[in-house]
Structures are given as structure tokens and as C-alpha cells.
């Protein structure tokens, strides 16, 4: 990174500026207090709480079926995977074995969710570095997935498709065909993404060597998902702690060793291919049978502590439940990937310019309601 030498006649002065909470590049209500010297960033201090809804406190009041719905409103781009995490925790605690059909459908929809989330990220990523076209390309492909979700789950964003014990409804008769159509369509579109943005010289210069995060720092800051894997840190929960049908499929964990913005970008592009491959392996072999096992109307977890981690589009999402044997958790903590990934923003942005901060933040793929739970 270049540093400007200041003529001795002028004093270099640090001052604060606010970025957000209503700034388009923060993708939500996040306020960053920047300490800058000219255009060089000296310190980035996030100020949170603008969209905090105290979901953890609400969970202490609600039943386990109700909690599932609240998790949609955290990382809304990974809503299905968040729902799945709560359901898996409850099912593990009850020692409830769900049918294979449920596991496979959950995994397929989970990977579709990941692709949809990465499409949106890719669109706004381009927009953040000044390429407006990518936004429309990303949304065009995401729209197809949303249509599939709408048909099967009845919703496009906050899906509520999982319930403890299985799925709320069976899949729509068109689901398999439309998913296959999407795979065929999307396989021709990822190379288009590469042609449009990845190989672009201006884009490469904005990304290469910017926002460097070493592997040691990534682990220490609790980075997960594509942010950790861009630093060469193998942290895919789907590999290390497989859940649902993920132990039945083969896929490569996307790992890049660059540690810069470009590496994080490339990891997500490769993940699009891997997710497609996972769906392809499962879509023709959805086992028959029930789409849910009946549970009691009031679910009471046994006394104890339960933890389940899953891989959302942003990284490791954890659900930690302390139960005293009643119908609501005594304490429920969500470990959200965005919260840890935000904490390293100061570390990787210091010394860079404000324009690079926007680009770096885009590669962290932050969803603010996930951070402000």
C-alpha cells in the first residue's frame, strides 16, 4: 500500500468520520467510526445495535418451534440453514432420527440457499467496486432459485421450511425438474461471471494484495466460511462436522492461500461450483418416505447443554442451548459468523484507503442482522 509523504509545511492531522449507519456500502445499518489521516485509515471501530432485536432474550420465552422462525431474521440470506441448525440441535437433544428424505432435501435446499446468497454477494460485490452490471446478473440467477423456493416453501426469503422432526411440507412436484433446469442454466453463467468481473484488470487491481489476513490471524479472530478459507485455513463445517446428508456426498473444500480480497472472492466463486456438484449428486436420488416425523405438540428438551454448528453462506453458525427441561431454553446463544468476521475488519483495513475499505468489507460478506442479533 502506498503512503503519501506529507510536505513539512503541512501538519498531518487525524480526524473522525462516520460511515453509516445509513451508508449504501455497509449493506444495512452498521456504523463504522473511522479515524483517518488524509485518506489513510488509522482505525475502524464498528458501532453496533441499530438493528438489534434481542432474539436471544425472545428465545428464552418461546417454544422450540417458535425459535426456528426467529432465526430467519438473523442471516436472512441463509435462512434455511439457520432454521436447520436449530432443528438439528433440538433433534439431537431429543435423540430423534429424521428420515433420509428429510436429510437429502435439507441439504439440497441448503446448497441452493448458498448459491442464492453467493449470487447476491457477487452482484453487490461488483457494485461496491463500481461495476453496476453485476448486480443485475447476480439477481437474474438468484431469482430462479427464489422461484423454486416459493413453489416448495411458500416463501422467497424467510423460508420457515424446517420444523423440529423434518420439513413443514413435502417438496413440490416441480422441484426436481426446476432444480435440474437451474443447474443446467447456472453452469453456463458462472463462466460469464468470470468473464465479466473476475478477469477484469481494474477489478483485479482493486482486489489483489488488499485486506491481507494471515492464517494465524484468521484462526485467532475466529474467522470462518470463505473469509477463513481465503487465508488457507480449512474451516468448512460441512467437511469437519458433516450434518444432514453431507456425509454422503463428495466435494472439495474451496481453499485459497492468498489471504487477500481476491482470495476470498475466488473461494466463493469456487463454492458455487462445489454447491452445484453437491446438488447434482443428490437431486436424482431423493429417497422416498415421510417428510417429517411427528413430535409432541410441546417439545421439552432434556436437562443439559446442546451445541450444533452448521456452515451457512457466511461461515460457522452455532446454536448453544442450555436446557433445564422446560418448554423453552434457559439460555440460548447464537454464534454468528458475521460477528467474528466483523471483528477482524479493523485488523485488515488499517493502512488502506477508504475506497479499499468498502471493497474489503464486501469480501467479508457481512449481513448486519446476523451481527446484531
Amino acid at each position: 500500500m502506498e503512503t503519501t509523504t506529507i510536505n513539512n509545511n503541512f501538519k498531518s492531522e487525524e480526524y473522525f468520520i462516520n460511515m453509516g449507519p445509513q451508508h449504501p456500502a455497509t449493506h444495512g445499518v452498521l456504523r463504522l467510526i473511522l479515524t483517518i489521516d488524509g485518506e489513510i485509515i488509522k482505525k475502524v471501530e464498528p458501532d453496533l445495535g441499530y438493528i438489534h432485536r434481542s432474539i436471544e432474550k425472545m428465545c428464552e420465552r418461546d417454544s422450540y418451534q417458535q425459535i426456528v422462525h426467529l432465526t430467519d431474521r438473523m442471516d436472512y440470506l441463509s435462512s434455511h440453514i439457520n432454521n436447520e441448525a436449530v432443528c438439528l440441535t433440538v433433534e439431537n437433544a431429543l435423540e430423534l432420527e429424521v428420515p433420509d428424505r428429510v436429510k437429502v432435501i435439507r441439504t439440497i435446499i441448503g446448497e441452493l440457499t448458498r448459491i442464492a446468497s453467493h449470487c447476491l454477494w457477487w452482484g453487490v460485490m461488483g457494485m461496491d467496486v463500481g461495476a453496476l452490471t453485476t448486480y443485475f446478473y447476480g439477481f437474474r440467477d438468484r431469482e430462479m432459485i427464489n422461484d423454486i423456493f416459493e413453489e416448495t416453501c411458500g416463501a422467497r426469503l424467510t423460508m420457515n421450511y424446517n420444523v423440529p422432526g423434518g420439513l413443514m411440507f413435502d417438496i413440490h412436484p416441480n422441484f426436481v425438474k426446476r432444480t435440474k433446469d437451474f443447474i443446467t442454466h447456472f453452469k453456463t453463467k458462472i463462466p460469464e461471471y468470470d468473464r465479466l468481473l473476475t478477469g477484469n484488470v481494474i477489478f483485479q487491481k482493486r482486489m489483489k494484495g488488499v485486506g491481507i489476513l494471515t492464517r494465524e490471524d484468521a484462526i485467532s479472530f475466529g474467522a470462518s466460511g470463505p473469509v477463513g478459507r481465503g487465508s488457507g485455513y480449512s474451516c468448512d463445517v460441512r467437511k469437519h462436522h458433516p450434518y444432514s446428508a453431507l456425509d454422503k456426498v463428495t466435494f472439495n473444500e474451496a481453499i485459497k492461500t492468498g489471504g487477500d480480497s481476491l482470495a476470498r472472492y475466488e473461494v466463493r466463486i469456487q463454492e458455487l461450483w462445489e454447491s452445484l456438484s453437491i446438488i447434482e449428486q443428490l437431486i436424482d436420488n431423493i429417497p422416498g418416505g415421510e417428510h417429517r416425523v411427528t413430535t409432541k405438540a410441546v417439545i421439552k428438551l432434556p436437562k443439559g447443554e446442546f451445541y450444533q454448528k452448521v456452515e451457512t453462506a457466511r461461515g460457522e453458525f452455532g446454536v448453544y442451548i442450555i436446557s433445564t427441561g422446560t418448554k423453552s431454553p434457559y439460555r440460548l446463544k447464537f454464534r454468528s459468523p458475521g460477528f467474528s468476521n466483523l471483528s477482524l475488519l479493523n485488523h485488515i483495513a488499517v493502512g488502506g484507503k477508504i475506497g479499499d475499505l468498502v471493497a474489503t468489507m464486501a469480501t467479508l460478506d457481512l449481513v448486519i442482522p446476523d451481527i446484531d442479533r
Binding site: 445495535g49 436471544e56 432474550k57 443439559g304 446463544k333 467474528s340
Partner: protein, 188 residues
């Protein structure tokens, strides 16, 4: 490493000098080991061979309950020791157990892939305070600030301990069980 092996290894770091005082033979043994390392912290309660308390608590992880005084030395050993090497703090939660307030640390090793849960508790609800683990895991900085917001637990040696989510004039600690929600903001 299996949970049993972890328990034996970690337990041996904090031997309880009071543990073997039942029989004369063992007293000699214990005093010998004491001479070798005088820096070992002194024990208060003669409960088990280790100053740490190991529990299962119907959890899938091995749980350790540590006294606030030994928290930081235990945590830094857990990370630096090559056999344990817990370099990934994946979850840090504040908990209000009614009488006691505390913090739960979920740890994982990225090289050995074993997990561990460390709990620290205090009965002091007026001024609860633990050592910060920010210098061991950088992720703790934000997580500890969040615990300060919602439980009012303070962390010594934290580089920037102030409210992260709540406004500075917020009264009370929302996730504590005795929090009075006067304007029905959260609960109903």
C-alpha cells in the same frame, strides 16, 4: 485426544496439594512434587486431585469449571501446549445461572480437532469480573464486549471495554434473569 486423556492431562497442570492428605504415604508424595514447582497456585478446597472441576453435564463436550483466579493461566496453557493446542475459540457466551453469573468458552483445536468447554462462575452479582482472554484469542475482544452489554460482566486487561451494542445510558443488563423489562420491550 479423547476426553479422558484431555481430562488427565489438563487436570495434572493444576494439582490439588490438599488432595492426598488422607493417608500419610501420599502426603510425602505430594510434598515432593510441591518442591519441584513452587509456583503452582495454592488450593482452597480439598475436592479432587485437580483444582479444576470436570463435568459432563449431559453435554457432548468435556466441561471444565475453573476458578476465576486460574482462568487466564489455564487458557494460555490450553492454547500454547502442543498436545492440547486449542487455537480456535468458536463461541463465548455469558450465562446467568440464577445465583451465579459466568462465561462459557467453547474451544476447538484446528490441528487435533478436539473440543473443550471451559466455564467460569462468580457469585458476585454487583461487580462480576474475570480476566480477559483477548491476548490469547483476538475474537474474544468483541464477544467479551457483548457479554458486558447483556450481563454486566467486566473483563480485566481488555483493551477497549465499553458497550458494543447498547447505548451508554442503558440501565440494567437485559439477558440477566432478574432484568426488569419496564416498557415491555422484549418480553411480550
Amino acid at each position: 485426544m479423547t476426553n479422558e486423556a484431555l481430562q488427565n492431562l489438563i487436570g495434572s497442570w493444576f494439582p490439588n496439594p490438599e488432595a492426598g492428605k488422607v493417608s500419610e504415604v501420599e502426603v510425602v508424595k505430594v510434598s515432593e512434587t510441591e518442591d519441584d514447582s513452587e509456583e503452582k497456585p495454592k488450593a482452597q478446597e480439598p475436592v479432587n486431585p485437580s483444582l479444576l472441576e470436570f463435568t459432563k453435564e449431559e453435554s457432548q463436550f468435556l466441561n471444565i469449571i475453573v476458578k476465576p483466579g486460574q482462568l487466564h493461566s489455564l487458557m494460555s496453557q490450553l492454547k500454547s501446549n502442543e498436545q492440547t493446542h486449542f487455537d480456535y475459540l468458536f463461541c463465548l457466551s455469558g450465562v446467568d445461572w440464577g445465583e451465579e453469573l459466568g462465561v462459557v468458552y467453547h474451544l476447538e483445536s484446528t490441528s487435533h480437532r478436539h473440543s473443550l468447554v471451559v466455564k467460569v462462575k462468580t457469585k458476585d452479582r454487583e461487580d462480576p469480573r474475570f480476566d480477559s482472554v483477548c491476548d490469547i484469542w483476538a475474537t474474544a475482544e468483541f464477544h467479551e464486549r457483548e457479554v458486558l452489554d447483556f450481563f454486566g460482566i467486566k473483563f480485566s486487561n481488555h483493551p477497549n471495554l465499553k458497550y458494543l451494542i447498547l447505548t451508554e445510558d442503558w440501565e440494567g443488563f437485559p439477558l440477566r434473569k432478574d432484568y426488569v423489562d419496564e416498557i415491555n420491550m422484549i418480553v411480550k
